[in-house]
């Protein structure tokens, strides 16, 4: 330290350029970067040269060609006569996102419930949660998927003897045939009411937080929000004369017609991903809660808070800081695990694009590259979002 202090006073000592650590560092970094770029370039060039030498078609021209095969679940308009391979990619991507997002949502809720239950003073509740976690965590996911799929499939009735769920439609081994809501002209008023309700709730909750900070008075935000978000649109809906009808599925033929169908592959995959990932999330939640000093609970109790508010207002907000980073990796796992869909014919990205499209066009390199980059992109976006959320939840140090 003393020596450095001295050298500051004297000024920079003269060193030869190639001995300057700063310049050396730059040179090494540049050489490394050039080498990496060079190897990547040569590798790619080599690959294309080899593909050409072997008469294997390359390039992305196939994305514009008509695909010509059917897909069992499409959220966007898809016609096997006209849709292209590029469109197949989109259909697959949306199917992947659909199962991943629903799965993340349900797994988070289930995971939190089980995680909290594992710490419950109630012996039975704790026991059930422990058995759940230990069972589901320790069986490979692929088996979960097969059990849900083939098990559930055999339990469900044949379409000719569909289970009638009344207003909820029909259930059989071709899937769940749910009623499809059809909106009338005036329905947009209900939608507007819903948006107004959302905005109003947001404003009120901000206002009430400020007021509570200033005066300590609480405002019933939850009840008000409920009334604004659900009650208000419902009122508009009733006043405008119920502008909504349902297209009910009708049994007959090979399978019911009308309504919209949720295919059994989606249900099985969703159940498997949710139940499996929820076990891991439960452990993360439990660890997060246990990481909070017991003194916090005791202090909250001493202030007169009951168990519920203690958990909600004191423990969970602090535990979130511990929970979010590992939770992110569970979300990423769930998304990536959804590619196991290929085993049970759920038409996700890997199945329809990385599978069928790859085989029909034979362009393995391009298609696998696109598929990999897509998963990478989804994962990075998820991480970015969770990092932002984590930063928001971080302890604000005053």
């Amino acid at each position: 330290m003393a020596l450095q202090g001295v050298s500051h006073d004297v000024g920079q000592p003269k060193v030869a350029i190639f001995n300057d650590p700063k310049i050396r560092g730059w040179v090494y970094q540049t050489v490394l970067l050039v080498a990496i770029v060079y190897f990547a370039f040569v590798g790619i060039q080599n690959m294309f040269a080899n593909l050409a030498a072997q008469n294997i078609a390359s390039g992305f021209g196939f994305l514009g060609r008509t695909a010509g095969f059917a897909i069992s679940q499409t959220f966007i308009e898809y016609s096997q006569a006209e849709s292209t391979y590029g469109w197949v990619y989109l259909v697959g991507l949306i199917n992947t996102l659909a199962v991943a997002i629903t799965g993340i949502f349900l797994a988070t809720i289930l995971g939190f419930i089980i995680g909290v239950a594992r710490l419950s003073p109630n012996f039975v509740l704790r026991g059930v949660a422990t058995v759940y976690v230990e069972t589901f965590r320790n069986i490979p996911l692929l088996l979960h998927i097969f059990i849900w799929y083939f098990g559930v499939l055999r339990l469900l009735p044949h379409p000719r003897e569909s289970a009638d769920l009344g207003f909820l439609g029909l259930l059989n081994n071709r899937g769940w045939f749910a009623p499809l809501p059809i909106t009338d002209d005036l329905f947009f008023l209900t939608s507007i009411a819903f948006v107004i309700g959302l905005i109003a709730t947001f404003v009120i909750s901000n206002w009430s937080r400020k007021r509570q900070m200033a005066t300590g008075q609480q405002f019933p935000v939850f009840q008000t929000g409920l009334a604004l978000i659900i009650g208000f649109p419902l009122l508009v809906f009733l006043v405008t004369g119920l502008p909504l009808t349902f297209d009910m599925p009708v049994a007959g033929g090979f399978r019911p017609s009308g309504g919209f169908t949720i295919i059994p592959e989606f249900i099985a995959l969703l159940l498997a991903l949710t139940s499996y990932t929820a076990a891991f999330i439960a452990e993360i939640v439990r660890a997060g809660i246990l990481a909070i000093n017991k003194g916090q609970t005791e202090a909250a109790h001493a202030l007169g808070l009951r168990n519920g508010p203690t958990l909600r207002l004191v423990i969970i907000p602090q535990a979130m800081r511990v929970i979010i980073p590992p939770l992110t990796s569970q979300y990423l796992n769930l998304t990536k695990n959804s590619s196991l869909a290929v085993a049970i014919a759920y038409p996700d990205l890997v199945s329809v694009f990385g599978g069928t499209a790859l085989n029909q066009t034979g362009q393995a390199v391009e298609i696998l590259l696109m598929t990999m980059l897509t998963y990478l992109g989804i994962s990075l976006l998820t991480s970015a979002f969770m990092n932002w959320y984590n930063a928001r939840m971080a302890l604000v140090e005053r």
Binding site: F39, G355, N359
Partner: protein
């Protein structure tokens, strides 16, 4: 993140690189290895199916054994690589297998854009439909609205699309990666119909809980010429594959079987003499021993023998020769002359 992209690129590049080196000349590679690497299906009775102790049998398997016999004079010098429909072409392109003998349909796209060559047709097939008997359906034209199970990455997906479109019918396609899962899902009632090549339907029907409760509909909706595939750009190897099949056809036509091949060596028929290598240098011309066809017939048999042994009327599949009969019996199997 940079690293991940990089490793992706390098990985892909390596795929391209290795693909370039594996195919110097396939015959030299095979001779050096001392065995033939043959890509087969993951289990299709009658075509390529492993038994309880891991021994492969079937029409496609016998073809590979015949090629091994032609090269080494020993039909056991062959290793089998089970491949899914999706993996098969990449495995051949990358040099993982020397020949793909896996009930693969010959189509123009596959022949021209994959860097592969289809050699011969060792089984003329067509796509059919199988359905439960108690559905009381007796024509494919009654299938509008049906759920249909099949394999991903096959021509069947496209054929069924064409057929239903041409007949203005609706359907739901459920495509699985592995044939076993297609069978399981069909058996579990997920689909009304199971579609694949007719030979495959007869084969997979044996795996169902009650094979007699299912019926194959009469319509054949496509042409499915199945045969062995090799990499493009190695004509010597292509010739060996082609002529192994032709030798088996000629043997059947000339009445040479695995049982009488030794006595046939003394035959005065010049066509048989050329086939068995007692006259001419036909084996040498394609870089393999002159008694190549003798070895093929002795160790594996002629085409009719392998057909009867694996899929013929006396097997559980009970498929008649039909279009796969010799041309002399009104079928399509025709071996160009060895001369």
């Amino acid at each position: 993140m940079k690293k991940q992209i990089l490793s992706t690129i390098v990985g892909t590049a390596v795929l391209g690189l290795t693909a370039g080196y594996a195919s110097a000349t396939t015959l030299e590679d095979v001779k050096e290895k001392g065995s033939l690497q043959c890509g087969v299906s993951q289990g299709l009775p009658g075509f390529s199916n492993p038994d309880d102790s891991g021994n492969w049998s079937g029409l496609d398997v016998d073809f590979c054994r015949a090629v091994a016999a032609a090269i080494f004079g020993d039909a056991t010098k062959v290793e089998f690589t089970p491949l899914s429909a999706k993996e098969r072409f990449t495995a051949l392109q990358s040099g993982e297998v020397d020949v793909l003998s896996r009930n693969t349909t010959w189509t123009m796209t596959r022949d021209t854009t994959l860097g592969l060559n289809f050699s011969v047709v060792n089984y003329y097939d067509g796509q059919g439909f199988m359905i439960r008997k108690d559905m009381n359906i007796n024509s494919a034209l009654q299938l509008s609205g049906a759920s249909i199970c099949t394999n991903t990455g096959t021509t069947t997906e496209l054929n069924v699309a064409d057929y239903f479109r041409a007949n203005d019918m609706e359907y739901e396609l459920v495509a699985f990666e592995k044939a076993d899962e297609v069978v399981a899902a069909y058996d579990a009632g997920r689909c009304d119909v199971y579609t694949t090549d007719a030979s495959g339907l007869y084969a997979q029907r044996l795996k169902l809980t009650d094979p007699n409760a299912h019926v194959v509909l009469p319509e054949i909706i496509s042409k499915e010429p199945l045969g062995p595939v090799v990499r493009q750009g190695d004509d010597e190897w292509l010739n060996i594959i082609k002529w192994t099949h032709f030798a088996m056809l000629n043997a059947e036509e000339l009445g040479v079987t695995s049982e009488n091949v030794d006595s046939m060596k003394d035959s005065t028929n010049p066509a048989i003499k050329r086939l068995l290598g007692t006259e001419g240098e036909f084996g040498g011309a394609i870089g393999i021993p002159n008694d190549w066809a003798y070895n093929v017939i002795k160790e594996v048999g002629n085409y009719g023998e392998t057909f009867d042994r694996n899929v013929g009327p006396d097997t559980p599949l009970a498929i008649s020769r039909g279009v796969n009969a010799l041309w002399t019996n009104g079928g399509l199997q025709y071996g160009p002359p060895i001369r």
